[in-house]
Symmetry: C2
DNA sequence: ACTACCCGCGAAACCGCTTTCACGAAGTCC
DNA sequence: GGACTTCGTGAAAGCGGTTTCGCGGGTAGT
């Protein structure tokens, strides 16, 4: 009734008439075993329904086959579909390479919290970090020699491989689009400015703006935090301080949606009076009325890039940062 | 430069002047060690910065401290924030109990795919399943004796503990609310009817309907699939076949939002002409105009319930299914 | 024909921790 | 006071793989 006793190497070895060492070689793809004996081993494995005990294997070899995905839950961001999506991308790539994903959702603030402890405990072969506000932990872990990948651009220039969306380019394109639609007074509602992504998007906006020869009026730069509420608040405020604003670039779709509803509640017609561009191309971009013009980022690809960077690193290959491209999706709001 | 060599029991034992067995006892909270010696061990541990190798520990004890969270990705549902949220709930509870979450996002259709293999490999102490369309894998795994918890109601009556939202009650409340608002012709747009959650919500609707003494006209029951598109399609169709429909219960907010936009595009005023109620209380419920009246389910609580059920089970306690409550959130759409 | 290699393979050590077992000391019972 | 428990502890045997080492036989070089 209990768990059926699983066969071990010794059983397989006996059945195949070889030594345990040979079983190990065969099962690990060592080419140097004679094909006949390899075949006997494989047969024995199949017949007995053998499955390798990964824990024992991990202990002996020092490789666990586990990769940690660490998401900083300081801001309980995990309810954002972004994380789920990117994580599933990572997970898929890793499992295609025989690795498994250990998910850790926990505040990463401290350098010696539970997460840090776990990562140092040698149970994982590598870690992928979604860094938001601080590089401290990553930086600290670097000493340990643990292979790491950062999703998102690190704040300081650690020489750790990272993947990120082309935030700058996307924001530039968004702003440019507004300019091309002959908007004269273009505001930006930024994301949490403590994150590099938000900074980069702001930079993209500034760059596009600068190319027009002007400098954005101070009040046109609103520091949001990616939440629906902040989109609404800033839109309202914007309308007070700059009633003639005719373009808004919100740094994610959620804020854009918030801005649109406020604009409409206050009698503005989108896009006729004010044009709005979002960022992400989240589902909400399609359900908002008018549907949001936005910058699509390929989130799954981002996750996959993170996964493959990790794999390359484990294989000892040279790795370079990967920046995934964005795409302007034109809908009705701008 | 490489990873600093980590101390082992033998080092600690020597430093503390005790045997390795005693070190193990102390580190595993065995009460029977003399306090003085225990203290010496703890000091040695602190001084040397010792950290237990969990892999070795897992091999020797047969307990890995890992719990798999398996999400069926057949329908690439992971982009739905629901999954991220519930997973983070699970992860939090587990880590509070010294366990870690291994995330597996993969089609669970087959009984002997990679996931099944992994779960049988003994590397995890338990598994939490998000079952959607089939119980096959879970059912198969039951024989192995692996502790399991199902999130969502299983199709067949396996005697495996599960947690679920009160889908029936929520749907009942939603429909009842429409009835109380004196809607006469109330339609439902169901979720993917291959899932138990969708069935239960339909049942709740039917029950409320039945209590009015009537039976819903056939055309009022529309089989959707939780997607925005299906909400739009069914709303459009509904307006054709039943122009006098005055209430719609959509089984999630996404479909509700789709329905609302279509209704408006076709000249209906929500809620004056048609009232709409959604389910989930997702972010989109707040951004849709009018904001959606909906059924809130506490997704984090659901995840935490799943986690605690697993822990109880590992502790050998008796476990009963947990049904988390829902709440009617009244906004503008009904 | 003789030494020098190379190749395939088994014996055995080892990875770091857990747990059983047995032993000596100390306490209990009549 | 002798026999019986109880208690704290260390020695040692695993857990189930991986990997080093060296051996015997076949091939190559001279």
């Amino acid at each position: 009734m209990g768990p059926a006793p699983r066969p071990t190497y010794s059983v397989i070895a006996k059945a195949a008439g070889v030594s345990e060492a040979t079983v190990s070689r065969v099962l690990n793809g060592d080419e140097s075993v004679h094909p006949d004996r390899a075949k006997r081993v494989h047969e024995a494995v199949d017949n007995l329904g053998y499955r390798k005990n990964r824990v024992a294997s991990a202990l002996a070899s020092g490789r666990s086959g586990l990769i940690a995905v660490v998401i900083d839950d300081d801001v309980s961001v995990f309810s954002d579909p972004f994380w789920g999506t990117v994580t599933s991308g990572v997970s898929r790539i890793l499992s295609e390479n025989g690795l498994h994903t250990v998910l850790m959702v926990s505040p990463v603030g401290s350098v010696d919290g539970g997460v840090a402890n776990y990562l140092k405990s040698g149970e994982v072969d590598g870690a992928i970090f979604f860094v938001l506000h601080s590089d401290a932990l990553v930086n600290n872990l670097k000493k340990s020699g643990l292979p790491m990948v950062i999703a998102g651009t690190p704040h300081s220039s650690l020489d750790i491989p990272f993947v990120d969306t082309d935030n700058f380019g996307g924001a530039y394109a968004a702003t440019k689009h507004l300019i091309n639609q002959s908007c004269k007074k273009i505001a930006i509602i930024t994301g949490d400015i403590g994150t590099t992504a938000a900074k980069q998007r702001l930079d993209g906006y500034l760059q596009a703006f600068r190319e027009t020869g002007g400098v954005p009026a101070k009040g046109l730069i609103c520091e949001g935090n990616y939440s629906l509420q902040s989109g609404m608040d800033h839109a309202r405020q914007l309308l007070e301080t700059h009633p003639d604003v005719d373009g808004i670039f919100a740094c994610n779709d959620l804020m854009a949606a918030g801005a649109v509803t406020v604009l409409q509640d206050l009698g503005r017609v989108v896009p006729d009076d004010v044009k709005v561009v979002g960022f992400d191309d989240a589902v909400i971009a399609q359900t908002t009325r008018p549907a949001l013009t936005t910058i699509r980022q390929d989130v799954v690809a981002l996750g996959e890039a993170a996964g493959s960077l990790m794999i390359a690193q484990l294989n000892g290959e040279d790795v370079k940062p990967i920046i995934t491209t964005t795409e302007l999706i034109i809908r009705a709001s701008a």
